[in-house]
């Protein structure tokens, strides 16, 4: 079927090519370019449509007041101040817990365990399984462990810890990739200069691996900001301004979900919140990348 199609199209393309004065190869080049550019265009259109849609429908509701006012009438009016605070708390807890664990694990895997050893393979395989786990499963796990067993209840802390578990495998993978991308010759140079492995790691390998480490943080933060399912069971969806990490609170993604699905007439505010989320993601990405560049320049130059 496929073959006959190709043969037919070849014959046709010969005829078409000679009709419009091109050699056969040139026509294929042309079609191929068109296909590649077309695909890019479609992807770009989807992105633009999405952003444009959110922008057009959401922008009318966004104002300074929207950012600093409490949620009123289940979100139909008022603003999203407590939601933003809860989001910040949960993401901060998740990153503060996950980042050191991820970096330490990545150093063990990339620098100390033999790459093809049983331990290394087992650890990496288990992270891959964790990375493929649906987030709802993390939600149930977090609820059982943090909310009930450890008695944190529905709280920002439970939500943050659950998200930490969820983003851990992604961050570890990014950090391991970052460290493995550092040329072996740097390690040899460090050893030949009688530097300890810790010192080489700290002064040479980590600065050189910084792009991968930054990518890990961004990936983790992006997933944490976007998460809803795992948080419904752990941080809850209270709209009050949280007073401590032990209070329940909803993140911006949950707020959007709730407005869109459960609150009649909440669409406009859902779009406004989505707009804020998109802008937030773009700002954070830019800031973290800039920060990483700066740290790397400083540690490489001085």
């Amino acid at each position: 079927m496929n073959l006959s199609f190709r043969i037919n199209s070849n014959i046709d393309s010969n005829r078409v090519a000679s009709l419009i004065g091109l050699r056969n190869g040139q026509l294929w080049d042309l079609l191929f370019s068109a296909a590649v550019w077309g695909s890019v265009l479609i992807v770009a259109m989807v992105f633009l449509w999405l952003v444009g849609d959110v922008l057009i429908r959401g922008v009318s509701a966004v104002s300074w007041d929207f950012l600093v006012s409490p949620v009123i009438d289940s979100g139909r009016s008022g603003g999203i101040a407590p939601v933003l605070v809860s989001t910040a708390c949960i993401v901060a807890v998740a990153l503060a817990v996950a980042f050191p664990l991820a970096l330490a694990s990545a150093i063990l895997i990339a620098e100390f365990l033999p790459r093809t050893g049983t331990v290394s393979r087992l650890v990496v395989a288990s992270f891959d399984v964790l990375a493929g786990m649906p987030s709802i499963v993390f939600g149930l796990f977090g609820n059982a462990l943090f909310n009930q067993l450890l008695g944190f209840g529905y709280s920002l802390l439970s939500g943050g810890l659950t998200l930490a578990c969820m983003v851990l495998p992604f961050m570890i993978k990014a950090n391991v990739d970052g460290l493995r991308a550092v040329p072996r010759s740097y390690r040899e140079a460090g050893d030949a200069l009688a530097m300890s492995r810790t010192s080489t790691l700290w002064h040479v390998l980590l600065p050189a691996a910084l792009p991968g480490i930054i990518a890990g943080v961004l990936l983790g933060m992006g997933r944490a900001l976007a998460e809803t399912a795992a948080l419904l069971f752990t941080s809850g969806y209270v709209t009050r301004m949280p007073e401590s990490l032990m209070d329940s609170g909803r993140t911006i993604s949950i707020h959007i979900y709730d407005l869109a699905m459960n609150v009649a007439g909440g669409d406009r505010m859902a779009y406004a919140s989505a707009l804020i989320l998109v802008v937030l993601l773009i700002l954070i990405n830019t800031a973290v990348v800039r920060l990483g560049d700066w740290i790397q320049r400083r540690s490489l130059r001085a």
């Binding site: 033999p114 040329p183 010759s185 740097y186 390690r187 040899e188 140079a189 050893d191 030949a192 200069l193 009688a194 530097m195 300890s196 010192s199 002064h203 040479v204 600065p207 050189a208 490489l300 130059r301 001085a302």
Partner: protein, 273 residues
């Protein structure tokens, strides 16, 4: 007449080898896992001279070099038998688990220049700081001295804060040599230091080796016989026999090149193998 020159060269060889021997290996065997790489190597490396290790690919030259500063420790599953003596010490037994003290005494330069992705200054300052030099003035003076010694000061003295990666290959290699020298080692191991460089940079490094041998013991692995003739005072020829590297001939360069004892040496030097 011929016999007399032969006899004197024999005596000279005896003299130099019984004189100041810096490094010497006794029945050194190295294997990676179950695969033997070196067998029964007894090599004497005279101090403050250039010893060139030559031989075809796969004859264990680089592996041998790595035994001398225990870079072999980095690959797991290497086993070393026999001994390597540096001065009075057996580097595997006396220096125990910690190769760091050894590597301060035995520096190494690699085949491909491997400066850190830092500034020229930091490349030299990092090992110094790690070994306890904190004083800024002292750092500056040691760094300037090291760069002058490898002839880089005139070329880059005014841009020490530039990234080392902006230097040319030859400059990078000289920077790596300077970086090894700031720790004041006794021995400098060089693993084909010119194989990735152009002829001019190669000449520069060879001249440098000639100057450095007055203060350091230098062991240089090279594929390039012409280079060995140019720089070496002593030569050791390794050979791959049945998949295992062996040392088949060693001695003063002039003697080995003019009157090789082993027939494999003769054919190798004539380019017949």
């Amino acid at each position: 007449m011929d016999r007399i020159t032969e006899a004197t060269s024999y005596i000279q060889e005896q003299d130099s080898s019984s004189g100041n021997i810096c490094l010497c290996t006794e029945s050194l065997c190295l294997s990676y896992g179950t695969r033997a790489a070196l067998e029964n190597v007894n090599l004497r490396i005279p101090s403050r001279a250039v010893t060139a290790i030559i031989g075809p690919s796969g004859s264990g030259k680089s592996s041998f070099l790595c035994c001398l500063n225990r870079m072999t420790d980095l690959c797991c599953s290497t086993t070393i038998e026999g001994s390597v003596r540096l001065g009075e010490h057996d580097i595997h037994r006396d220096l125990g688990k910690n190769p760091i003290a050894l590597r301060r005494r035995v520096g190494m330069v690699f085949q491909h220049p491997n400066p850190f992705p830092f500034s020229i200054w930091k490349n030299l300052a990092l090992p110094l700081k790690h070994h306890g030099v904190r004083n800024k003035q002292e750092l500056s003076s040691v760094i300037e001295q090291a760069l002058r010694r490898v002839g880089l000061w005139e070329e880059v003295g005014d841009r020490l804060r530039d990234s080392a990666l902006t230097l040319s290959g030859g400059q990078q290699q000289r920077l790596c040599i300077a970086r090894a020298l700031v720790l004041e080692p006794e021995v400098l191991l060089m693993d084909e230091p010119c194989s990735s460089l152009d002829p001019l940079s190669t000449k520069c490094i060879e001249t440098l080796i000639g100057q450095l041998k007055n203060s350091y013991t230098i062991v240089v692995v090279t594929h390039d016989l012409a280079q060995a003739r140019r720089v070496a005072d002593h030569v050791a020829l390794f050979w791959n026999a049945d998949g295992v590297g062996r040392l088949i001939e060693q001695g003063p360069a002039a003697r080995v090149f003019q009157h090789p004892e082993h027939e494999l040496t003769t054919s190798y030097l004539e380019g017949q193998l």
